[in-house]
């Protein structure tokens, strides 16, 4: 007998996602990543490894960078989540996003949402990071296409242009 719809075991989770309050009815152990992608249709956050290694699933949870593939949604109850979709809600690109475009920071784009959030998180702490600080700040986000250099250039450039906006 399949246990595919144990509705009784679901719970109500309320959270703010990109400034909007949402309530979902899900199993407590659903990954935050899957809730974002499937329940809320926010597919900008990606799954690359399912083990917290690649950082493609990075989001900001209460302003803190986390890997959403490792967070049971119950632990995000009441939290403020920012995903890549939350960065340019008015259609305008943030300074950091524009810098990625100008410097070649995105090639295939799959690591890009997580990478941008990680960079944003870094720039909040260190508005003009050194190369070493960028290396460390982005070490949890794997990119297979760029070899990282143009991503670093984008972050440096964003810092130069005043990217905490």
């Amino acid at each position: 007998m399949s246990k595919s719809s144990q509705d009784g075991a679901k719970c109500e989770i309320s959270l703010s996602v990109n400034g909007r309050l949402v309530t979902v009815r899900v199993h407590a152990m659903e990954r935050l990543l899957d809730v974002l992608r499937h329940e809320l249709g926010l597919t900008g956050t990606k799954e690359g490894c399912g083990e917290g290694e690649c950082g493609s699933c990075s989001v900001l949870l209460n302003g803190i960078l986390v890997n959403s593939c490792l967070i049971p949604v119950l632990q995000a109850n009441g939290a403020n989540i920012v995903t890549i979709e939350g960065l340019s809600t008015d259609g305008r690109l943030r300074v950091l996003q524009q810098a990625f475009l100008d410097c070649g920071g995105a090639q295939c784009g799959i690591c890009t949402p997580g990478m941008i959030l990680a960079a944003l998180h870094l720039l909040k702490e260190k508005p003009q990071p050194t190369l070493e600080e960028i290396r460390e700040g982005l070490a949890g986000n794997l990119c297979r296409c760029t070899g990282y250099m143009q991503i670093f250039e984008a972050v440096v450039e964003a810092g130069r242009r005043g990217a905490t906006t």
Binding site: K46, E47, G48, C49, L101, A106, G140, Y148, I151
Partner: protein, 744 residues
């Protein structure tokens, strides 16, 4: 060369905005109404006969769609060069993770459990796992002698060399499997409708490869199979041929269930079940004169193809054709073969055989240098190919390439001589050891020999109702900049603005077959066809009196609008024609193997930490001649990305095999470099032009994969004075070698 306005500048990436805002749609981002999820039951043994399937308890099997080989409407194969690879194993298993059955269900969470619940009874057969075992023929697992393909390249008179040689230098070099590790796993969605036929959407490089495979598998005509590429999160060759398999699986489930089916692999399945770079073994035996000239030699190049043929003959070909590198061989015999083992088939990965044979050659050049008593620089210089000389296949170098000067420039950029001297002194003092190493190499762009003629690529450029122009190619974007550069080319050719040109998403219903997106051919070959097709639009508009000889972009757009309003959409087609000066003899394997070669010299500076035996690359110079740089930011990005992957190939990425199955199929245990592991990679370009490429461009996508590994290992030898002939070179290997040397 004429001045260009758009080509040669770093215009914005066409689809870049979507990528930085999270709007880009990859296959797993798409959901269709009523969609089921699919999964694959796979073999746990490397070889044997399937006796029985048991569908275990705890699962309501009635809720599942189950596909077995008998559900295949057409031929049970993934059509490629041969039809030997089954879509689903039919009675016999030849490698671990071989697909056996397919399952689908609406609840994606249920599938892993269901897959686990299918048990399979086998009669195991003895399996083989190495090239040596395969050659030994104790088990015949493929064909009559385990050999998928062999080539023989001969030039001059090799047998006469040995008695006159002042030195005979031998060496054996091996490279391991490497996982492409695109960050987006393989995925496909299929839907079948009795009227419309079959449609698949997915992460892929070659829509028409899949189209051809599905026609045969599903017994459908061309116009009832449609393949659509979605945004693809990295590929590197790993999505050249493999997607036909996953598309076939999704298609079969969709046809049986009548519902759309999505199959997305997780990381472990992708790593363990899909293709990897072919492991290789190269043996060199070289006759060298007293003054360090290569008189000639024998090269034996062998690659491990895994259990089925797939693309091994083509990987073998490229590897064999690059085995002599950028040197002049008066005489050579290259014996190349691809052999079968009971591992999942190996496949395309950036470089496609050349990184393997060039690793061997460039390591061997340093070995020759030592034998002869010359430096790595001075052994290479006199042996470089010069204009007018011929390659190993007898292709005449027609361009004015001066490899000695390229070498000198690379040495200057890397401060090679000063550093080599300084390191030699500092290494005496204990602590870590530093070294510097070079690799000089080339990469042939486009399909080999008669390959491009056989492909017969077709490109379209369309005039649209709104006055814009649209490029129609099956060439796919997966990060390298296909869309951007092809639109640049069309805009440049027509004197338009970059914004006036669009490009269709590759959809076999919509675009012609411009060939696969492989072999570093897209900018060079397909780009040149885009150029021609674009000019065809202009020709037609002029012929209709809608356009003057000189015009502004606005006037061009107005002319398009007028034309389309009157005559409907207009599509200009260009077809590939083999240039007269690229002549190839497929029988004798002689002639012009490639329409163009890009040339390079790379220099790697390394530090070996003697506490941990780990190697760090502290500086890297990548200098290459590429015809013309069409987009500086993208071109630089290709080189840096390729060098990074090759650093992984050299120092980090080891596939751990047990009984033909990859044991470290997780990102935690398959080690690719992070941002903290890579140096600043310094990239420099030279441009000699290329008559066979759009605006003089040569292909560059794979070039950067060929040089870093030997440059790094040469540098490690420089640092430690211990040779290493096998990659990946891990700290454990360095420790073992140093410990052994101490024991002696």
């Amino acid at each position: 060369m004429k001045n260009t306005r758009i080509v040669g500048t770093s215009v914005p990436r066409l689809e870049g905005r979507d990528k930085v805002t999270g709007q880009a749609r990859y296959v797993d981002d798409m959901v269709l109404p009523g969609m089921l999820y699919g999964a694959t039951v796979r073999s746990r043994i490397p070889r044997g006969e399937i006796k029985k399937f048991t569908f275990g308890p705890g699962i309501d099997w009635k809720e599942f769609v189950i596909v077995s080989p008998k559900d295949i409407p057409g031929k049970n194969c993934i059509a490629l060069i041969e039809d030997d690879q089954p879509c689903l194993a039919d009675g016999t298993v030849n490698h671990p993770e071989e697909p056996l059955l397919l399952l689908a269900h609406p609840d994606r969470y249920l599938l892993p459990k269901a897959v686990e619940a299918v048990s399979v009874e086998y009669d195991p057969l003895p399996a083989i796992f190495s090239m040596e075992e395969s050659e030994g023929l104790s088990q015949i697992i493929w064909g009559t002698n385990n050999t998928f393909k062999s080539y023989l390249i001969e030039k001059g008179d090799v047998d006469a060399l040995w008695k006159n040689a002042d030195y005979i230098v031998e060496g054996e070099y091996t490279t391991g499997a490497q996982e492409q590790l695109y960050i987006e796993n393989n995925g496909m969605i299929a839907a079948f409708d009795v009227q419309q036929g079959l449609t698949v959407w997915g992460s892929l490089q070659c829509p028409y490869y899949i189209h051809k495979a599905l026609m045969k598998l599903c017994d459908l005509p061309a116009d009832r199979v449609r393949v659509v590429q979605m945004e693809t999160g990295g590929a590197f060759g790993g999505k050249e041929e493999y997607p036909s398999m996953i598309a076939a699986h999704a298609a079969l489930l969709a046809m049986k269930s009548g519902k759309p089916v999505k199959i997305i692999y997780d990381r472990m399945e992708d790593m363990t079940a899909t293709t990897k770079r072919h492991p290789s073994r190269t043996r060199h035996r070289t006759a060298v004169s007293k003054d360090g000239r290569i008189l000639g030699g024998e090269i034996e190049f062998t690659i491990d193809g895994g259990a089925y043929e797939t693309l091994s003959p083509v990987v073998l070909s490229r590897g064999a054709l690059h085995a002599g590198g950028s040197y002049y061989w008066p005489s050579v015999r290259i014996r190349a073969k691809a052999v079968a083992t009971n591992a999942p088939p190996h496949g395309a990965f950036r470089g496609f055989g050349a990184p393997q044979s060039l690793f061997a050659l460039e390591r061997h050049m340093d070995r020759i240098a030592q034998a002869v008593g010359l430096s790595p620089v001075e052994i290479r210089r006199p042996n470089f190919l010069k204009p007018g000389q011929t390659t190993t296949t007898g292709q005449t170098v027609r361009e004015e390439i001066d490899l000695g000067r390229l070498l000198d420039r690379a040495l200057e950029l890397s401060d090679y001589h000063a550093k080599k001297k300084k390191f030699a002194e500092e290494n005496q003092q204990g602590g870590s050891k530093k070294g510097i190493g070079i690799a000089a190499f080339l990469h042939g762009a486009g399909f080999t020999g008669s390959g491009e003629r056989y492909l017969g690529s077709v490109v379209g450029v369309e005039a649209c109702a709104d006055g814009s122009v649209r490029v129609l190619v099956s060439s796919t974007e997966f990060g390298q900049g296909t869309k951007t550069v092809l639109c640049q080319i069309a805009a440049e050719a027509l004197g338009l603005r970059y914004e006036d040109v669009g490009i269709a998403q590759p959809d076999t219903q919509e675009v012609p077959n411009s060939g696969p997106t492989v072999a570093s051919r897209t900018v060079m070959v397909v780009g040149k066809l885009v150029q021609s097709a674009a000019l065809g639009i202009r020709q037609t508009l002029r012929a209709r009196g809608l356009l003057e000889d000189s015009y502004s972009p606005e006037e061009f757009c107005a002319a398009c609008r007028a034309y389309v309003a009157e005559h409907g959409k207009f599509r200009s087609i260009a077809r590939y024609e083999q240039p007269d000066d690229v002549v190839w003899d497929e029988e004798k394997y002689r002639g012009s193997a490639y329409a163009a070669f890009a040339w390079a010299v790379y220099v790697a500076e390394v530090k070996v930490d003697l506490t941990t035996y780990s190697v760090s690359v502290d500086d890297f110079v990548a200098l290459q001649e590429v015809g013309k740089v069409l987009h500086p930011v993208l071109a630089k990005g290709q080189i840096i990305g390729g060098v990074a992957q090759a650093i992984g190939f050299a120092l980090y990425e080891k596939v751990i095999w047990e009984q033909g199955r990859m044991q470290n199929g997780q990102m935690t245990n398959y080690i690719m470099p992070t941002s903290a592991d890579l140096p600043s990679i310094r990239v420099y370009f030279e441009e000699l032009g290329n008559v066979h490429g759009a605006f003089g461009a040569k292909g560059i996508g794979e070039l950067p994969m060929d040089g870093p590994a030997p440059a790094i290992v040469n540098a490690v030898e420089d640092a430690l004075e211990v040779p290493f002939d096998s990659i990946p070179l891990l700290p454990e290997d360095i420790f073992d070698a140093l410990a052994e040397r101490m024991d002696q």
